[in-house]
């Protein structure tokens, strides 16, 4: 279990999966700060939103979500990539970013959150 309640930004274009993540986060005792399913929306929230960490789907409707990641990196907000690709599908620049591979077990999400919250 994480030691504190995290405010999480979920960037996911598939609504069913977004729901799964939101539910799991809640079950794990965290709070969903916002959910973005479009690039522009994601970028806006990434720039201005208030949250502790972010879970970002690598592929936003066929578009890589790296610009969102870059903004977060700039703001020093830790984030997790959620991906169906596996680690090989990721740009090498982000090789040290924790990954949540879909589909995932609750325990797996919890493990990456523990890992990332240590950096917060």
């Amino acid at each position: 279990m994480t030691e504190r309640r995290l405010r999480v930004l979920v960037v996911e274009d598939e609504s069913m999966i977004a729901m799964l993540i939101e539910d799991t986060l809640c079950e794990l005792g965290h709070e969903v700060a916002a959910t973005a399913s479009r690039m522009q929306e994601a970028l806006d929230i990434a720039r201005k939103g208030q949250f502790d960490i972010a879970i970002i789907d690598v592929n936003l409707d066929g578009e890589p979500s790296y610009p969102v990641a870059d903004i977060l990196a700039e703001r020093n907000v830790p984030f997790i990539f959620a991906t169906g690709y596996g680690s090989k599908g990721l740009d090498t620049r982000y090789s040290n970013i924790p990954l949540l591979t879909k589909p995932f077990l609750d325990s797996e999400l919890e493990a990456v959150l523990v890992q990332i919250s240590k950096e917060v």
Partner: protein, 844 residues
């Protein structure tokens, strides 16, 4: 006539005319010679008988009278006609001029002509008036004839003198040359003015001789072919014979006429002949060849020194023997036969090589040339024998023959076609290889070439007498760099390179030639092959480049021009580095090093840079290039543009990833749907199991995706499946077995099996306490030559196991679905010590 009437006048002295007219006609006849008189008008008034005889007619003194002359016709002495009106008589009467000794020609009525010497005097009266004229004329035809003859003779003489072939001169009593003819001047080369007028002694080479000549001549002695030497203008000496006599008048020496006969050439010939005679005699004695004369029996009549030396016998000994006596017994009969034929007249000469025995017993080889001297009747007088000691020559000859044989043996053994000819091009030798190449056996004496037919490289017919060998012989020089094609009688053609070389004797004279024909069919084939290869390289789409061991570009094909954008001119001689991007410069030394070690580099994928700076993905194949000795001298590099391939590869990867992404998202969606469905009924345990199975399937997918769905490693599949379930997999799971690639279907099936076994172990089995272990072992065996996997799952150290009351999904999957899926045998045992699971399934 009125004046006749005056005749009676007496007491008056008669004029000459009157006296002549009045005298009796006989008075005119009394005058010696022919006479006639004309009156002052020219009328003929009287003539004597002799005049009538010379005229050949008797002109009338009465009407019709005649004027000036009684002749029929008159001519001048040169033969041109003269009218009577213009004859000297007419002149005398008209002008009173006398004529003395004029010559005219009188033609008689019979056509005969006489030369007449005419003297005319006018006749005047006392007052000087011309009363007439008298003409006395004589027949001088005879004198004229003699005169003409004399003239003619003297001209002949003059001509003879002048044009005689023999030199002729006339010398005065004082020795001065008065005349000299052309022959004389030509003989000595002087122009007339340098010779005539000089003293004869100046031209004689020997003063005593001319002194003696002049003495003798002055005494009236005749000289007949007296030898003397004259000095010609050019300084040369002429040998002459002088024939001369003198002319005396009144006992006084007037001059001498000399004939000079040039005998210089005769003299020279004689001298030469004498010299030859002497030389011959000397030669005979001094000759290094032996010369002898022998009689019909072969007895030696005369021998020279060399002959004696040659046979090692004295002259006395030799003159007491026949030449057969010293001839080696084996050669004696033959020589005797030859000589007998010569003596009998059957032959004139013969030549023989024979052995002779010297006095000391040594044997020598002699070449004998025997010829015959016969008398006029053709009878044998003696034989002339010329001997040449050829012992040494024969030895040399034998040695030469031997070395020639060696040479032939050598040529015969040569693997190349070789033949020789004499200077005329006739074949004297050929070896086996020549026969093979020509496809025929040449005949000794064939000319120019051993081949059957020849063609030029362009296929045109090449006559044998124009072939390179013929050129060598005709121009006496080796011919190189030519090529020809030989046709064999069977029609096959062999391209070859000839190497004709002239052969000379010691004196440098051309004696023949040797030719070597090198078959270049293979070379041509190789060249053709190389040409084909070169053409492939030239037109290859791949960039083909060669470089030396220092990395300097040597060749550059069209493909390279296309791929890298540089033309051949731009890059040949430049280092290959210009094609390597800055961040990959480190590659080249490694490549060069491997090439120097004679390694081959296959499909090395890298990036190269174009002339325009753009990068291209290339696959390089680099092979060492070696020289004829096998040394690495460079590398050939084939670069293939794989940008396209790489792009499609990436595209494919993108598609797989995209598909994977979709599949995973779909699975995640299913997971979400399930979560929503089950959340309400609080069946979290079942949902958990579902979720776990779903994730296990996704993980197996992941493993396969990493391998592009080509297959997956068994160990990897095992760990990917167990790790999310087992807390400390390294401690709790012992896996052992060879690396083994599974086909995708098997990987997925086993992944599901491992998941079920593992979740079972986590829930009821070995993973539920602290000391339990899972052992997974596998190996491969051949069953009926098909590879089979044997895998054993065994749990130990866990709590005691009870057989489950009902058959759950896990058991069904393991026992039924797996067996069906894999076509193998499955054995699941819930033993009290722990679960054991065994599967045996074909790998393919």
């Amino acid at each position: 006539m009125s004046n006749v009437e005056e005749f009676p006048l007496t007491g008056r002295v008669l004029t000459e005319y009157e006296a002549l007219i009045t005298s009796a006609p006989t008075a005119l006849d009394a005058i010696p010679g022919a006479v006639y008189v004309c009156d002052h008008e020219g009328w003929l008034v009287g003539y004597n008988a002799e005049a009538a005889e010379l005229w050949g007619r008797q002109p009338s003194l009465s009407a019709p009278r005649e004027r000036f002359c009684g002749s029929q016709r008159l001519f001048l002495s040169d033969g041109s006609p003269m009218d009577h009106q213009e004859c000297p008589m007419a002149e005398a009467i008209k002008t009173g001029v006398s004529t003395r000794n004029a010559e005219v020609i009188i033609e008689r009525p019979d056509g005969s002509r006489i030369f007449a010497l005419v003297n005319i005097r006018p006749l005047r009266d006392h007052r000087g008036v011309i009363q007439g004229a008298i003409n006395c004329f004589q027949d001088i035809s005879q004198q004229k004839r003699i005169e003409a003859e004399v003239n003619c003779k003297s001209k002949d003489l003059e001509d003879f003198f002048e044009n005689s072939a023999i030199g002729l001169h006339i010398v005065s009593a004082a020795g001065i040359i008065l005349r000299a003819n052309k022959a004389e001047l030509e003989l000595l080369g002087y122009p007339a003015d340098e010779y005539v007028g000089r003293h004869i002694a100046e031209f004689h080479a020997d003063a005593p001789v001319i002194g003696d000549i002049l003495d003798r001549l002055s005494c009236g002695e005749k000289l007949d072919r007296y030898p003397a030497r004259l000095r010609a203008r050019d300084g040369s000496i002429k040998h002459v014979l002088i024939t001369s006599n003198s002319r005396f008048e009144d006992g006084k020496f007037v001059n001498t006429r000399c004939f000079t006969t040039d005998i210089t050439s005769l003299h020279e010939t004689e001298n030469a002949w004498r010299e030859t005679e002497e030389r011959l005699a000397a030669t005979y004695q001094a000759a290094t060849i032996g010369i002898a004369e022998s009689d019909a029996d072969g007895r030696l009549l005369r021998v020279n020194d060399a002959f004696c030396t040659m046979l090692g016998r004295s002259r006395e000994q030799l003159l007491n023997m026949t030449f057969l006596d010293y001839t080696h017994e084996d050669d004696r009969d033959e020589e005797a036969r030859c000589y007998a034929r010569q003596v009998s007249g059957e032959t004139d000469t013969y030549a023989i090589r024979k052995r002779a025995v010297k006095a000391d017993g040594t044997v020598i080889y002699l070449d004998v040339y025997s010829s015959t001297v016969r008398d006029r009747t053709g009878r044998f007088r003696y034989g002339v024998r010329v001997l040449l000691d050829v012992t040494e020559a024969k030895r040399m000859d034998d040695r030469r023959r031997e070395s020639e044989q060696h040479m032939r043996d050598l040529l015969e053994a040569l693997p190349a076609a070789v033949y020789t000819t004499d200077a005329e091009g006739r074949i004297t030798f050929f070896n086996k290889a020549a026969v093979e190449m020509a496809g025929r056996t040449p005949q000794i004496g064939d000319k120019w070439c051993v081949t059957w037919r020849l063609y030029r490289p362009d296929g045109t017919y090449l006559p044998h007498d124009q072939c390179p060998m013929a050129v060598t012989l005709k121009e006496d020089r080796p011919v190189r760099g030519e090529q020809a094609v030989a046709e064999r009688p069977d029609g096959t053609r062999v391209p070859f390179i000839p190497y004709p070389t002239p052969l000379h004797d010691v004196a440098g004279k051309l004696v023949g030639a040797v030719n070597m024909l090198v078959d270049i069919s293979d070379r041509e084939k190789a060249a053709e092959y190389a040409e084909r290869l070169a053409s492939i390289v030239r037109f290859s789409d791949d960039a083909i480049v060669s470089k030396d061991t220092q990395g300097i570009i040597q060749t550059w094909n069209k493909g390279a021009e296309r791929l890298f954008g540089y033309s051949a001119e731009e890059v040949i001689g430049k280092p290959i580095n210009i094609l390597i991007p800055p961040d990959r410069q480190g590659e080249e030394p490694g490549i060069l090093e491997r090439i120097r070690r004679d390694e081959h580099i296959d499909h090395y994928e890298t990036v190269r840079i174009r002339k325009d700076g753009s990068l291209i993905d290339v696959s390089l194949t680099v092979s060492p290039l070696k020289d004829a000795l096998g040394r690495v001298v460079g590398a050939s590099k084939i670069a293939r543009d794989i940008t396209e391939r790489r792009r499609s590869e990436e595209h494919r990867k993108l598609l797989v990833n995209e598909l994977n992404h979709r599949v995973k998202n779909t699975l995640a969606t299913v997971q979400s749907l399930a979560a929503q469905t089950f959340r309400g009924v609080n069946a979290s345990e079942d949902f958990g199991r579902f979720q776990s199975r779903l994730v296990a399937l996704a993980r197996a997918h992941d493993v396969l995706t990493r391998e592009s769905w080509q297959g997956a490693d068994l160990g990897e599949v095992l760990h990917a499946t167990i790790n999310p379930i087992c807390v400390e997999p390294q401690q709790r799971v012992q896996a052992s077995g060879p690396p083994l690639r599974l086909r995708p279907k098997m990987a997925l099936a086993l992944s599901m099996a491992f998941h079920e076994l593992c979740t079972n172990a986590a829930k009821y089995g070995a993973l539920t306490n602290d000391g339990g272990l899972i052992k997974v072992n596998w190996h491969v065996s051949n069953i009926e030559s098909v590879s089979h996997l044997h895998l054993q799952w065994e749990e130990i150290g866990g709590p005691s196991v009870m057989v489950p009351a009902r058959t759950g999904f896990g058991t069904r999957l393991l026992e039924r679905a797996l067996a069906r899926e894999l076509g193998g045998k499955v054995d699941l045992v819930f033993a009290p010590s722990g679960v054991r699971f065994h599967i045996e399934a074909p790998l393919t």
